[in-house]
């Protein structure tokens, strides 16, 4: 033991392996990580690999790429990608666009902030199925929405079983999520920075455009990315309040049809992998874009 404590020999690397590992942070406490790693590895990473492998083993034979050729060769299936984009990009833009000013207004504590948070937590808690069910009732030909439109003398609106229906359902669940994330990002900006700008004569508009918005921009981009990724895999509302065979034939519909209706998990996995790759592409693009923005502290110093 004495030689280990001897500083002259400490660097020679002849100490017990255990000590050398401990120096780099590896000791028995890491075993606490093991169950979590096993679960994530076995139930998340391995299924991905398994999905890739079965997607190359088509049920009906053919080459290993038959499932992908089927998908990209069929224009109806291939168009699902564009239909998804046509739905997801506007949903993310509208959600983040509407949530940003509201989150900015809610960045400081005030009476009623809890209420705003509570109301916006409701759709996240209840999920899209409940939203879809309420929409079926509210937008039905004699539902509240059309009765209200009639009362103020406007023509009836047809917002069910089409693109608009799915769009509204998606915004109803995406906007609250965007709001909660953005509220955190705006709240994380030190008010001292704004106060300093005010002391130097900046008006409210200037403070927003020159101070708060640039500092919150990485957060806004992150929120947009998460909203887009979420909206890209929209599923129940595309069926329940959309037109799943035409206007809202989004990428998740062929996955559902292959897996649930034909039990063709190989084909379903192939389309799910296409979906995943597009999602990862979005994430990579956004991270690249965000890294070009201001990165630094959003707190005021005392200096």
């Amino acid at each position: 033991m004495a030689e280990v404590l001897d500083p002259s020999r400490a660097t020679t690397g002849r100490r017990p392996l255990k000590h050398r590992l401990a120096e780099r942070g590896i000791d028995w406490s890491l075993l606490l990580l093991l169950p979590a790693l096993v679960v994530i590895g076995a139930l998340f990473l391995y299924p991905f690999l398994y999905g890739v492998s079965i997607s190359f083993q088509p049920l009906e034979g053919g080459g290993p790429f038959a499932n992908y050729q089927d998908f990209f060769g069929d224009s109806y299936q291939r168009d699902a990608i564009f239909k998804t984009l046509r739905l997801a990009v506007p949903v993310a833009l509208v959600s983040v666009g509407l949530a940003t000013p509201l989150a900015y207004q809610c960045r400081r504590d005030f009476r009623g902030r809890r209420l705003v948070t509570l109301v916006l937590m409701l759709p996240i808690t209840f999920g899209s199925i409940l939203i879809a069910q309420g929409m079926l009732r509210v937008f039905s030909p004699y539902g509240w929405a059309n009765l209200a439109l009639e009362a103020i003398g406007l023509p009836k609106a047809d917002l069910l079983y089409n693109y608009e229906g799915t769009f509204i359902a998606a915004v109803l669940t995406t906007l609250p999520l965007a709001f909660l994330l953005l509220m955190g990002f705006f709240g994380g900006i030190d008010p001292a920075l704004e106060n300093a700008a005010a002391t130097l004569g900046a008006g409210r508009a200037t403070r927003f455009w020159k101070i708060s918005l640039p500092l919150a921009m990485p957060g806004i981009l992150t929120t947009f990315m998460l909203a887009l990724v979420e909206a890209f895999a929209i599923f129940p509302s595309a069926i329940l309040v959309g037109q799943p065979d035409n206007e809202t034939h989004v990428l998740t519909i062929p996955i559902y049809q292959a897996a649930s209706q034909r039990s063709d998990y190989a084909q379903a996995s192939a389309i799910a992998i296409v979906l995943t790759l597009i999602e990862l592409l979005f994430l990579a693009l956004m991270v690249l874009l965000r890294n070009r923005l201001y990165k630094g502290p959003a707190v005021g110093g005392k200096g």
Partner: protein, 298 residues
């Protein structure tokens, strides 16, 4: 990453004290007024959508008109007696309790280690923990279901519990890390000096200090498991459907039960989810925990 080091609870607390209260309220700007009007409209619409389900479940027959013709509790009785509902309620409870407990028992120690230790591969693990949270379930739900059927446990309660663990376990880890970082390591050292062994350190010091984080994580997981549709949908059989899957089945089937009956089933689900939400807001602010972990993560 640098801007994002504020622990989840530090946000609003630090704001109020810094600026002295103004004596006269500033006039609201036009944009503020417009924002609040938009928010009010959105909130009203949202509440109308949710309220219509409750109204439908209480009404006799609702054709045209603002409200149904008569009030009845018949749908609730029917929904309660329907065989699908009671079994899916039981499954939902079992899955929710099992998943939340599993996620906490596995996730909190892992989060503790990730917060306290620095070791090779730590950032890779943090990154991998992020993917199941960010990627929507449909990117892996089908592959996971196929694997479960291949293993021969597809359609069982076990498989439903296992698949639902995937998104919530990383969520627990991501929420736990900032909460652990808030606890000074000196507190642990002090406990050790006074003779606490690992077990005592854990049960007497860490768990009490981490309770807000554990509750926040548990409630977020509960809400997520209750509403988790896609993962359960692909792997469950008729006997192991959770409440949302049963409701979806009733809604998607054109020859299914009448809308009011489905609405009554949905109200049961709303009640359970609302209790979860109320508990969560009572003990902690899950929105903060959520944005806190998103801060750190992305």
């Amino acid at each position: 990453m640098t801007t994002l080091t504020t622990p989840p609870t530090a946000g609003p607390r630090s704001t109020g004290a810094a600026s002295p209260r103004r004596t006269s309220k500033p006039r609201p700007t036009v944009t503020a007024v417009v924002t609040w009007i938009m928010a009010g409209l959105f909130g009203a619409f949202l509440l109308a959508v949710l309220a219509s389900v409750i109204v439908a479940s209480l009404g006799g027959s609702w054709g045209a008109g603002w409200l149904p013709g008569s009030v009845t509790s018949d749908w609730f009785r029917q929904a309660w007696e329907a065989p699908g509902l009671s079994s899916s309620l039981a499954v939902t409870f079992q899955v929710a309790v099992a998943d939340v407990l599993l996620a906490l028992v596995i996730g909190v120690p892992a989060g503790y280690v990730l917060a306290r230790k620095s070791f090779p591969g730590r950032s890779a693990i943090m990154l991998f923990a992020l993917f199941p949270v960010i990627l929507p379930p449909l990117t892996y739900a089908v592959q996971l279901a196929a694997l479960m059927y291949r293993l021969g446990i597809g359609g069982t309660l076990l498989s439903v519990i296992l698949v639902n663990l995937v998104p919530i376990l990383p969520l627990v880890i991501l929420i736990t890390v900032p909460f652990v970082e808030q606890i000074s390591p000196q507190v642990e050292d002090a406990a050790r000096v006074f003779g606490a062994n690992n077990l005592k350190l854990f049960t007497r010091v860490l768990v009490p200090l981490l309770t807000p984080g554990i509750v926040a994580a548990g409630v977020l997981c509960l809400v997520r498991v209750l509403g988790s549709f896609e993962l359960t949908f692909f792997v469950s059989s008729a006997e192991t459907q959770t409440l949302v899957v049963t409701i979806f089945g009733a809604m998607a089937d054109p020859g299914g039960p009448p809308a009011a009956l489905t609405a009554a089933m949905t109200v049961f689900y709303m009640a359970i989810a609302l209790i979860g939400l109320a508990i969560s807001l009572r003990f902690s602010n899950p929105a903060q925990a959520l944005s806190g972990s998103a801060h750190r993560a992305v």
